[in-house]
């Protein structure tokens, strides 16, 4: 039933191949029979030929060998010249027909290759100075928040204290201490009154990093109206 689906030419081809294989098998058996029967007759001739070769003088054999080697090398050279001319052209023609990039993307596991790369060695060979010369440092600096960085530096080194120490202005450490102590006394009084009247405790002041900035031109910081503020 399966043969119905096959075309007539394929059936004929299968029959021809089967016939040829049967013929070859018969020929192989025939060759075995002939060899077995003729071996006894050809063995003396084979031994005689070997003796004849051994009887030939060695210098005559060397001359023939040298001639044969020279001829073989000449043939090899000619073949290599032909190939060196032909193979690049042939390869170019093949590569022109193939999209190597797409082929690599489809067939090569680039991630696996990248994992085997020695990136440290590549970085060691990199000329960082040459890269730095090509950088547009002005554009990089223009993107930096230099004022913000300066603010962090001022916070870190407590510049106001240094200025106060060096200039001896009115806002000295003594005044600052009085201010802080009075503010803390304000809190203490407020908490005491809260306890007396059993009111909810006031919220703890925000950390220094999150506190609202100083009022600009007498303006209370954003979100803090003069009428809705709370105690610190």
């Amino acid at each position: 039933m399966a043969n119905r689906g096959m075309g007539v030419p394929l059936v004929l081809l299968d029959v021809a191949i089967g016939t040829a294989m049967a013929g070859l098998a018969g020929l192989d058996r025939l060759r075995g029979e002939v060899s077995a029967r003729a071996g006894s007759a050809t063995e003396p001739a084979h031994q005689a030929l070997r003796r004849a070769v051994e009887l030939v003088p060695a210098d005559r054999v060397r001359g023939l060998r040298v001639q044969g080697r020279a001829r073989r090398r000449a043939v090899e050279t000619a073949v290599q010249q032909r190939l060196s001319c032909t193979v690049p052209r042939l390869l170019d023609g093949v590569l022109d027909q193939v999209d190597l990039t797409a082929l690599v993307e489809r067939r090569v596991d680039l991630d696996r290759l990248a994992r085997r790369l020695d990136v440290d060695a590549v970085a060691g060979r990199l000329d960082v100075d040459a890269v730095a010369v090509r950088l547009d440092l002005d554009a990089v600096v223009a993107r930096l928040d230099l004022i913000g960085l300066a603010g962090q530096v001022v916070d870190g080194i407590d510049l106001p204290r240094i200025i106060r120490d060096s200039t001896g202005s009115v806002a000295s450490d003594g005044i600052s201490g009085v201010r802080v102590q009075s503010a803390e006394a304000d809190e203490a009084v407020a908490h005491f009154v809260d306890r007396v009247f059993r009111r909810r405790a006031h919220p703890v002041p925000a950390p220094a990093d999150d506190v609202a900035p100083a009022p600009q031109a007498g303006v209370v910081p954003a979100g803090l109206s003069a009428m809705d503020g709370v105690r610190p």
């Binding site: 547009d136 916070d155 002041p205 900035p213 209370v220 803090l224 009428m227 105690r231």
Partner: protein, 174 residues
């Protein structure tokens, strides 16, 4: 809208910030409403300033009288009522000018305080005058501060003003 990424690196310009000269220990209080102790201390300093000015005026007046007639010179002996009236007028003038011009008196400057209106800006001269009159006429109103959730004295409640901690350098707001 964020600024354009000129280098195409995906980096954006960060917002600018302004360094402040306020000490780190004072920043939790900055901008919040001042309490009773700070304001009492500031008022005490202001009272001392006015008293010193009054004394200087008295001594100046005595010097003028001495220069006018040194033979019959005697120290002037103003009555308590006149002294109280002149001192009150001087206090009102001092408070009005300082609050309207700089938002702070000398006492507020020492204690790091600033008087602001309800909008957060400095007091207009008329409200500064009214607040000064109320402060001088009814000074006990400051003791309403501990009872107020927003640390307001009586004159703050009446005139919708407030006193905040402000340790930034003094600025004239004329």
């Amino acid at each position: 809208m964020s600024p354009p990424d000129r280098l195409g690196t995906g980096l954006r310009r960060r917002p600018r910030s302004t360094p402040t000269a306020i000490p780190v220990s004072a920043r939790p209080f900055q901008g919040t409403h001042a309490g009773l102790v700070s304001r009492l201390l500031a008022n005490t300093v202001d009272f001392g300033v006015v008293a010193a000015t009054l004394t200087a005026g008295y001594l100046g007046l005595a010097a003028l009288r001495f220069l006018w007639n040194s033979r019959t010179f005697t120290l002037p002996r103003p009555s308590f009522g006149i002294l109280l009236f002149v001192g009150g007028c001087l206090m009102v003038l001092y408070l009005t000018v300082c609050w309207a011009a700089a938002g702070r008196t000398y006492g507020c400057h020492l204690l790091g305080l600033r008087v602001v209106a309800g909008s957060g800006r400095r007091l207009p001269p008329t409200r500064a005058l009214a607040r000064a009159l109320l402060c001088v006429a009814f000074p006990i109103g400051i003791f309403w501060i501990p009872l107020s959730r927003a640390n307001h004295a009586v004159h703050d409640v009446v005139l919708r003003s407030s006193v905040v901690y402000d340790w930034s350098p003094a600025r004239l707001l004329l």
